[in-house]
């Protein structure tokens, strides 16, 4: 197995989880209704748990630092997250649309990873598949509800959110130099295949939600290579504030 390819894949997966977890958690206490606030916050916690599990694999199998150090002490250029997860939450329509497009990608990736030749990833994929199923069900139900069964305003808002999110959503599947090695090693299906599977799934849901997929969008790339939006550094600064004051603190 190509170790550096596998390591790179896990950093991409884990950094996406960490940053989307933080963004989702920013809704805690501000959600549109109590029940949804709690559900969305739980999902944020799950995402953080996935990041922690992935950083633990990096620590135990690739000689990387411990999970807290990986999450809190890496400078921005070392982060491998895509631009999509970095974007501010905006209003709830955008957050829900991102939640759906991101979790549809997660579901595709992690379903494939249950078959990974790298056993720690395959085991983790089996463990969290139920959580991911709920995340996707949550997101999909809302998108269909607001798209097809809501009001004219909710439909228009979801359509606008989809249009704004789309170039960034496509950017989740930025090609990696390591893809060929990952595919030939049987570690992962690769970004192109993941994108195709995701697109078929998303198209189906959007049809049910009576929302139209944007046609001529240019994917926004760069995150996987360490180039990020202006939104990431303020997020990292805020997220790591307490940790940087005292890395040994327990709370």
């Amino acid at each position: 197995m190509n170790a550096s390819a596998c390591r790179d894949l896990i950093f991409r997966l884990s950094d996406d989880e960490l940053i989307i977890a933080h963004r989702h958690s920013e809704w805690t206490g501000l959600g549109p209704l109590l029940e949804e606030d709690i559900a969305f916050s739980s999902i944020a916690q799950d995402k953080l748990g996935h990041a922690q599990a992935l950083y633990t694999i990096l620590h135990e199998h690739f000689g990387e630092a411990d999970p807290d150090t990986l999450a809190f002490m890496r400078a921005e250029p070392y982060m491998k997250c895509c631009h999509f997860v970095e974007l501010p939450n905006g209003e709830y329509d955008f957050s829900l649309m991102r939640h759906f497009l991101f979790d549809a990608a997660e579901y595709v990736r992690w379903t494939a990873l249950t078959q990974s030749s790298f056993e720690p990833l395959a085991k983790l994929a089996m463990k969290i598949r139920g959580e991911l199923k709920y995340h996707l069900y949550h997101a999909q139900t809302w998108v269909k509800q607001l798209g097809a069964q809501g009001s004219e305003e909710s439909h228009a808002r979801m359509q606008t959110a989809l249009r704004e999110a789309w170039p960034y959503a496509l950017g989740m599947f930025e090609a990696s130099d390591h893809d060929a090695a990952l595919v030939s090693d049987g570690v992962f299906i690769g970004e192109e295949q993941a994108h195709n599977d995701w697109l078929a799934f998303v198209r189906n849901t959007m049809d049910q939600a009576t929302l139209i997929l944007p046609e001529d969008a240019e994917p926004v790339y760069g995150g996987r290579k360490g180039y990020h939006t202006d939104h990431l550094q303020p997020l990292l600064t805020e997220m790591t504030e307490v940790y940087r004051i005292d890395p040994s603190a327990e709370w």
Partner: protein
Amino acid sequence: MARMISLDPRVMRMNIDADAAPELEPKSELDQFQTYEVFHQAKSGAHHVHVGVVHAPNAELALLMAKEQYGRRGQTVNMWVVNTRDIVAMETADADVFATTPEKTYRDVGAYMVRNKVEAYKKQQKEG
């Protein structure tokens, strides 16, 4: 403009004008979603037990909400939601139909005559 000061960075980022108090718009009564009663099953084969309510616009979303409200701790294998309007209940004023029930101790398990036989058997076992 005096900026609203908060320990919450999310509030600080919103740059809220502390001087300009927003007009409070009174909400109309009953403008919330309808409610669904939630029933939780801890183990396969166990009874579904009523655990509370969720607000939701329809049954599908009620189930979605119930999962996190009542299923995020401990063990769960299944959940039901039932629209509160579909619950058929007695009138509170009719509680008097139960008024004399506590007196009918002959219906309590403890009042069964077999109790004496069980006690006698236990005693016999101890002595024997």
